[in-house]
Amino acid sequence: MSLELENISILKQRSSIFDPVNLVIKPGEITTIMGPSGCGKSTLLSAVSGSLDKVFTLKGSVFLYGRDMANLPMEKRNIGILFQDDLLFPHMDIRGNLAFAIKEKTSRAQKNKIIDTALKTAGLKGFEKRDPSSLSGGQKARISLLRSLLAKPTALLLDEPFSKLDQTLKAKIRAFVFSQIKKMNIPALLVTHDPMDCPEGGVILNLNKEKG
């Protein structure tokens, strides 16, 4: 009953790029969308986040905790996104990157506390002053997730977030991300082409387009 995709289809020049999607994701659950590249996985995510390109037309509705997202701009939807690129802001230190996500009217002391705790959970204690570009890929990925979560999103979208990590790191980061989503108790939608990425026991949806 939390993130609902109702009869979603996306049209490009009047033809739908995949079969209509119906999904309900409960808090703490992760639903995975699989499919070959070019099938429209990421486009579906952008429809949910509210950043759908103008060349597409969206049909169907997205509900978040019963609220219709249709007319809300992206920044009002309160949906977090995680990309395969970490997209940390290179001109700020780690603290700045994280503080950027924290809601207004939080005192400096509180912010520091929040950041400190967050870094601890990610095993990156004391990284506040570090330059993002000095971090390893895995570290960056964790910071990137922390940043998304510190904005207290009511849902999280994951756009192939592990595809750039090497095999040994992948498992570690994946476990970290999934545990955080559980802890936050928010619905999450994961897009990937790697079956290994799917969380155990999660719903998997294959995005197809019927021939003809």
Binding site: E75, A99, I102, E104
Partner: protein
Amino acid sequence: MRLFGQEKTYIFPVFVMGLFSVTILAGFIGTLLPSFNYLPVIGHTNLSLSVWFDFFSYPGIQTSILVTIFSGMTASFCVVTLAFLFISVSYENALWKFFEKILSPVLSIPHAAFAVGFGFLIAPSGWMVRLVSPVLTGFHTPPDWILLNDPLGISLTIALVIKEFPFLIMVAMGALGQLDIKKTLLVGRALGYKKEQIWLKVLIPRLYPHLRLSIFAIIAYSLSVVDMAILLGPNTPSSLSVLVLKWFNDPDVNFKLLASAGSLCLFFIVLVSIFIVYLIERIAHFFLGPWITNGKRSSFLALFKPFIAFMGICIILFTIISSVILVIWSLAWQWRFPDFLPTTWSLNFWAKGMVSSFDPVMTTVVTGVASAFIGLFLTIGCLEHEGNYRKNQTNQNQNSQDLIGLNQIRKKRTNNFIKNIHYFLYLPLLVPQITFMAGIQLLLVIMKMDGYWITLMGSHLLFVLPYMFIALSATYLSFDERVTDQAMLLRRSYARVMLSVKWPMLLKPILFSFAIGFSVSVAQYIPTMLVGAGRFSTITTEVVNIASGSDRRIMAVYALIQQCLPLIMFAAAIIIPKILYYNRKGMQV
């Protein structure tokens, strides 16, 4: 992968750095010595401070200096602020796309030509007042308002803003390609931020380092501008740069000493101003951090969106109307206040102007094309070197994974090295022209090298090269090296890969930077006068000469011819790739 020829690219930056530092240093010394009373030819051989005392006790000099600082700094500040706000609210929207199309013709309008048109637009007897006179105002003779040449230099400041704003936007357009704007906006919005706020808090701070040198150049230009200041600036007293030029040209040769002191003072003002900006950067860095992370997601900027867009439109509109006015003047016979259009028309001045400007136009074209060609050669050489250097460095970084700290240091060093080349390239834009060109003239005469076309062209190159570098570097350095790597695997010849793959793919930006180089050469006045020993008249020296007379109609003809030359070049830069690649969709970007 490193192939023959690739290692040798260091020659380019070394050559450019050598050329630039030697000429500027020589010019600087040629100005420094006279300011300490050393100019043997007029019998001054005792080093002393007397010139400086004379300089600071010259009537009205304080006002001159203050006006210079006020107009230059205000203009720079407004340009930068306006440009940042404009980018923030209109990136990629319809207005932005319009700007992308119109920017190069707007930029190619020479400062002097714009100043003439702008002056006639806003003067009390100008077009704006004529539009409503006498019907609405009752003015049969123009009102006695101080709109032009105002003592504070406000009209000059506005004109500078209008002329420099498109320049900064053009530089920004190049640099923005290097930032991951789309994704950054997505991340920011996913965190709940409004677009404008993401621009202000994330993208502009990242854009700033790319624009820094251009901003310094704008500051230096605004402080030392001569042609626009003569036409629009105050004259009792004039701004310092105009005063210096007057002294240089004073028949009383003792004023030469004063002029040297004045131009050094001007240089000092530029230095201090740039240093102040540096301090502001530091302070901003300190205060902006907390502001960026204060968590505020909405921005008041959204409210001003229409206003900022309006300012942008106004700037373009003023530039276009200034040119339209020139067209009308060039076709006028009699045109008096309060007539909105000339009462009688004539093609006489075009007929005369076309004939008498033929030789200067030829000189201009030959010099412009030659200096832009050499400029292009050197620019690409430097950029190729820089690209190779960067690639090398990243390879090293990837090879040694554990030495993160060490790589950081190394990376910083590389950056410093690259930055140094940039500063050298920018030197001619950061030092006021008058400060070192007069010294260079002396040097050239001593070496008996003045009055030759080749030295004239070389002096243009000093100013052509930096602008070409600004125009090309962003696109050139962000070229996808994988393509050339692939090609090298196939052809294994550096030169051939460059000629057959990389440069054809970059044809449009290369031609564009060529056009910019050409238009910079066209606009040079002081170097042409001083180095060319008056033997070479270009269309710009003709415009300035005619502008010292009273006939606005022939002046308009010359100014329009002057405007046309770069325009033709820009048109060619747009059309040639279209023709060559008419059937290649991937090249139509």
